[in-house]
């Protein structure tokens, strides 16, 4: 009986949280178009989130390109389909692996960072101090961060994809004696707008989800310093779950258009 009660309580809390998150998102859309605009802080956040995540995304992308090619190669050789390697790797990376893995890496780095930073600002009353000084903290802290990661993530995904494709080409160059240029040309030829456009669009949504959840968890952080850790932790867990849900919906919708 207790287990059932606990489960129902958990489900109730989950839906309450979804409701609060939706309200938070609504407030973002209300504030984003209303002056004053915090351009300077937006640029600072873009630099902070974009530039400082670049190395991490590039290293991850490169390793994914290497590993995917190394793992797929023996199977494709067994079926005599080695020539399909650039197509398979290119499409997998651009359509799915690049956006999802880049978003997950950024969720770990950025959502947790935002959650901890805003959480710490909340418990040390810095957000209250901002409010008292006449600055709208939601606009200054939340709107700028969500916008920055929404704009930066697609660029990071493009960079990560490019590096992953080079990683794949490097493996084929060493193992399969295929020239770098030829392999890359096959990879690029295999891609069309139906691969690139949905992947780029869903990257914007991924970025929005990372910023939204990170800010939501941090902005309403409670329970002192323990709450800061909890905000950072739950921001990553919740964002990761949300990314997969968004990915599923994006694949489902793009699949409908792909068939047209």
């Amino acid at each position: 009986m207790n287990t059932v009660k606990q489960s129902l309580g958990g489900i109730k809390r989950f839906f309450i949280e979804i409701g609060e998150l939706s309200y938070f998102a609504g407030r973002f859309f209300k504030e984003v178009f209303r002056p004053p605009f915090e351009f300077k802080e937006l640029l600072r956040q873009c630099y902070h989130m974009g530039n400082r995540s670049l190395v991490l995304v590039m290293v991850t992308g490169f390793i994914i390109g290497l590993v995917l090619t190394l793992q797929s190669r023996p199977t494709l050789i067994e079926f005599g389909a080695e020539s399909w390697m650039p197509n398979m790797v290119g499409i997998s990376i651009v359509r799915e692996l690049g956006p999802v893995i880049t978003a997950l890496v950024c969720a770990g780095r950025i959502a947790s960072g935002i959650g901890a930073e805003l959480g710490s600002m909340r418990v040390t009353e810095q957000i209250d101090a901002m409010e008292v000084s006449g600055t709208n903290p939601f606009k200054y802290l939340v709107v700028t961060r969500i916008l920055a990661i929404t704009l930066m993530l697609p660029l990071l995904v493009i960079m990560g994809d490019a590096i992953a494709l080079y990683g794949s080409a490097l493996v084929e160059n060493f193992k399969g004696n295929v020239s770098f240029q030829l392999y890359n040309r096959y990879q690029v030829d295999a891609l069309d707008y139906r691969d690139l456009v949905p992947a780029t669009i869903k990257s914007f949504f991924f970025g929005f989800a990372i910023g939204l959840v990170g800010c939501f968890k941090g902005y309403y952080s409670k329970k002192g310093t323990a709450g800061v850790g909890l905000a950072a932790n739950t921001a990553v867990v919740f964002t990761s779950m949300l990314l997969f849900v968004i990915d599923f919906i994006a694949v489902f919708i793009s699949d409908i258009f792909y068939d047209l």
Partner: protein, 220 residues
């Protein structure tokens, strides 16, 4: 319960202009009645200390006063304006007349001391007039608290007492008419606490502010 202790030499309670008026203020969190019909009047030029043990609702009261929290019921007026009826823009203008020293100083971690002091000026340029260079204003506020040398330091490089002084300088930057102190000496050693109390007195004399001080420190 919260107790009021009038320490002003400038006004006798009941005379002069009422600058803060709180009447029948109620606030509860769940079953906990934090404020139960709280009343207070602060006169112009007066220093008023509100004392009470931890959890008695002192900080809640002071946060209701600046609109950081909404009371369940009651009347709160600052300089004749009823806080609960003000829209965001008017409330922000009124807030520029109120300096708030937070319990933990609440300096922005990611900004230097200079940027911390410049931050409140962003939204109140009309009040300060046309400013091309903010440095003289920042330096003047820092000199008032004896920390002009710390202008380019980060908050993490400051001691607890220095942080409290910088926070005090930040409250002065907009030339407020009222300063609210939330536990100004908490977490400080007795010597530093005494310095902060003396600083609060000197600021009141220099700027002619009215002060509402929330504390559980009997030395204040």
């Amino acid at each position: 319960m919260i107790q009021e202790k009038e320490i002003s030499q400038n006004n006798v309670a009941g005379e002069g202009e009422v600058i803060i008026h709180i009447k029948d203020l109620y606030k509860r969190f769940g079953d906990n009645n934090v404020l139960n019909g709280f009343n207070l009047k602060l006169y112009k030029g007066e220093n008023l200390v509100v004392m009470g043990k931890s959890g008695s609702g002192k900080s809640v009261m002071i946060k209701c006063l600046v609109g950081l929290m909404q009371p369940d019921s009651g009347y709160i007026a600052v300089m004749g304006e009823e806080i609960r009826l003000l829209d965001r823009t008017t409330l922000d203008i009124l807030r520029s007349e109120i300096g708030f020293l937070f319990q933990g100083s609440a300096l922005y971690d990611s900004m230097t001391v200079r940027e911390n002091l410049e931050f409140p000026m962003r939204r109140h340029k009309e009040k300060l007039g046309i400013i091309t260079d903010t440095t003289p204003l920042v330096l003047e506020a820092l000199e008032s608290v004896g920390l002009a040398d710390a202008i380019d330091l980060m908050p993490e490089e400051l001691s607890g007492g220095m942080k409290r002084r910088v926070a005090l300088a930040r409250t002065l930057i907009l030339r407020p008419k009222i300063i609210l102190y939330d536990e100004p000496t908490s977490g400080l050693d007795p010597i530093t606490a005494k310095e902060i109390i003396e600083l609060m007195r000197s600021i009141q004399i220099k700027y002619g502010t009215s002060s509402l001080i929330i504390t559980h420190d009997v030395h204040v």
